[in-house]
């Protein structure tokens, strides 16, 4: 499936915006980590963000579900503006799935309990239904046989796939991936990327921070390059890799693609 990068070629996305970020700034103390971010994400759009470490890419997607608070500008997710209103934040978080670099599964709960926790407590789904749903998504990430185990008993790749399934169980409108393969052993990266590609083919809206350029080429509608807290350039994968506009982008690509 990952041989034919068909997904990226169909560019006819719906007009509707799911995320709108307007002139957003953030400081860590004195450090100006995000300097005027403007980004509109359409429904079903898949965006890959890359850039050197410390460029603010993780902070950017963490602002989208308010794991980090922005200090200037506006972020609107699914029609709701992110403010300090805790009810709105919880509403947005329920609609936005997040996959972390270090998986962050709940080690004291079994895999199936990890998956049903959100639906049961946030969505108020009956337990039985939540479990059936969880099994469906575990099936999807090819790991259904591990349902009764605990996170500590699984490999890194399996844990990350569970983490993806856990987010999917909430039926999110957008999925954020924060370097999902960076903490994995090389032989496990593919199994996680395969799951993400399948997800992309089903039309999930995705924002992925990653250095996996093969993944970017095959599934992204747009690739963004960030440096020093700014989006330096963004383009279709073909244009981005064949014909980068900025020197910084060229330098970064030359370093990463050897």
């Amino acid at each position: 499936m990952d041989k034919e990068p068909s997904a990226a070629t169909e560019q006819n996305l719906p007009d509707e915006l799911i995320i709108e970020i307007i002139d957003m700034h953030k400081w860590f103390g004195e450090f100006h980590v995000l300097q005027g971010i403007n980004l509109s994400v359409h429904k079903k759009e898949r965006i890959v963000i890359c850039g050197p470490s410390g460029s603010g890419k993780s902070t950017l997607i963490r602002c989208i579900n308010r794991l980090e608070e922005h200090q200037r500008g506006r972020i609107v997710v699914d029609g709701i503006e992110l403010t300090s209103n805790i009810k709105n934040i919880e509403k947005i978080r329920a609609e936005v799935g997040m996959v972390f670099q270090h998986f962050n599964l709940f080690p004291h709960l079994s895999i199936i309990e990890n998956l049903t926790l959100g639906p049961i407590w946030v969505r108020k789904v009956p337990k039985k239904e939540a479990e059936e749903n969880a099994m469906y998504y575990l099936e999807k990430v090819h790991i259904a046989e591990q349902a009764k185990k605990y996170p500590g008993q699984l490999s890194g790749g399996q844990q990350q796939r569970v983490a993806i399934a856990r987010s999917l169980c909430m039926n999110p409108k957008v999925m954020l991936f924060d370097e999902p393969t960076s903490a994995l052993d090389p032989e496990m990266i593919k199994e996680v990327l395969d799951v993400m590609i399948e997800l992309a083919q089903e039309g999930m809206t995705m924002i992925v921070v990653t250095h996996e350029m093969g993944f970017a080429k095959s599934v992204a509608h747009r690739v963004l390059f960030m440096d020093f807290g700014q989006i330096v350039e963004g383009n279709t994968p073909e244009e981005f890799f064949e014909n980068p506009q900025h020197d910084r982008t060229k330098l970064f690509l030359s370093q990463i693609l050897h």
């Binding site: 579900n65 794991l67 805790i86 919880e90 509403k91 978080r93 329920a94 936005v96 799935g97 997040m98 972390f100 270090h102 962050n104 599964l105 709940f106 080690p107 004291h108 709960l109 079994s110 926790l117 959100g118 407590w121 946030v122 605990y150 996170p151 500590g152 856990r166 909430m170």
Partner: protein
């Protein structure tokens, strides 16, 4: 290396014989160098000096049930102090013919404790069972309803009082300590300051002074004619004191939690209460089981300090027996008996905590 042979798969290579078996164990653990050999010899010498005389005193030359005069002629222990006084040691001044009531209350307590050991029984119904059980126990002690004669709480004492103070003290202090620990981590400055001040103030004074305050100073602030039961005041002091220590231990557990756990829970849309209850506390409290149990055990033993405000707990009733001229001088026997009771309580707590830890660590 001349006789290097390929071991066949079926035959395993056995360790050298000097390292296994009883002799191997003794050699490895008791006589593995000159210093350990010396320690072993010295220890054996002292054990020989101490253990046989103790056994002779406690079991062979001892008097088990004879009246106190018979003890005067015996060279060994006079255990008969226990059978002749156990009802006072255990029930204190509770009216003699009504002592079946505190006995029944204690039996209910032990049955409930035993039943609650099993984690499969931890359901809502168990909480209701406990509430009902506590109500029945209180009724049995206090009386005054359903034709039970009323017994004033000043007559409560002995093991019954010790258990009362401990069970209520520990079960109320634990949740209060958890709340204080969460409060100390709160983002709201008022709540945080309040918790810090409380914890530091309570930890800054000895339990004895808290008990004094509860029994002597506190009543001065009450309007005339209003009295609050003395046991209740001591109970409150024990709860407030223990909770402060538990709070600090729990805070240690909270700080051990990785940031990612909070983030994963929050990014799912769980609110603060759900995040704490479902994700953070189950893990944090599990980490701090060993220090928590230490605090609970020491709180259990510290209930004996209520002696200083003239409550007759287990230790005080024992001392009272010893001041009886007939039993004067048999304090060793009496204190060994009390020590055994305390030990059983403490040991079962620590034993249970280890069992619980093992059960909860399935996931790791």
């Amino acid at each position: 290396m001349a006789n290097m042979t390929q071991p066949s798969r079926s035959e395993e290579i056995k360790p050298p014989v000097v390292h296994v078996g009883a002799i191997g164990w003794i050699k490895n653990n008791l006589f593995n160098n000159w210093f350990n050999s010396l320690l072993t010899v010295v220890t054996i010498f002292f054990l020989l000096k101490i253990v046989p005389p103790f056994i002779r005193w406690a079991f062979i030359d001892s008097v088990w049930n004879a009246p106190s005069q018979a003890c005067r002629h015996a060279t060994g222990a006079c255990w008969s102090i226990i059978p002749h006084n156990y009802r006072f040691i255990i029930f204190g001044f509770f009216p003699y013919n009504l002592q079946w009531r505190p006995l029944l209350a204690m039996i209910i307590l032990f049955v409930l404790l035993f039943f609650s050991q099993n984690r499969n029984h931890w359901k809502k119904s168990l909480a209701y069972t406990w509430i009902t059980g506590l109500f029945i126990m209180g009724l049995l002690l206090k009386g005054g309803l359903f034709g039970l004669a009323s017994v004033d709480s000043t007559q409560w004492g002995g093991l019954v009082l010790t258990l009362l103070l401990s069970v209520f003290g520990l079960t109320a202090a634990y949740p209060l300590g958890v709340v204080l620990a969460l409060g100390r981590q709160s983002k709201m400055p008022a709540v945080r300051t309040l918790c810090v001040v409380y914890i530091e103030m309570i930890r800054g004074v000895p339990l004895i002074s808290l008990l004094f305050m509860a029994s002597i100073i506190f009543p001065l602030f009450l309007p005339e004619g209003v009295t609050i039961n003395k046991i209740l005041r001591a109970q409150a002091a024990i709860i407030l004191f223990t909770a402060a220590y538990i709070a600090e231990v729990v805070r240690g557990g909270l700080q051990a939690m990785a940031r990612g756990q909070y983030e994963a829970a929050e990014s799912m849309g769980l609110n603060y209460y759900q995040t704490m209850r479902l994700i953070i506390l189950p893990q944090a409290l599990k980490i701090v089981i060993p220090p928590t149990v230490s605090i609970l055990i020491s709180a259990f033993k510290d209930t004996s300090l209520v002696v200083i405000i003239a409550l007759y707990d287990l230790l005080k009733t024992t001392q009272t027996v010893l001041s009886d001229p007939r039993w004067l001088g048999y304090s060793r026997e009496a204190y060994i008996f009390v020590a055994i009771i305390y030990f059983l309580g403490c040991f079962s707590m620590s034993n249970y905590s280890r069992k619980l830890e093992k059960e909860l660590s399935r996931g790791d």
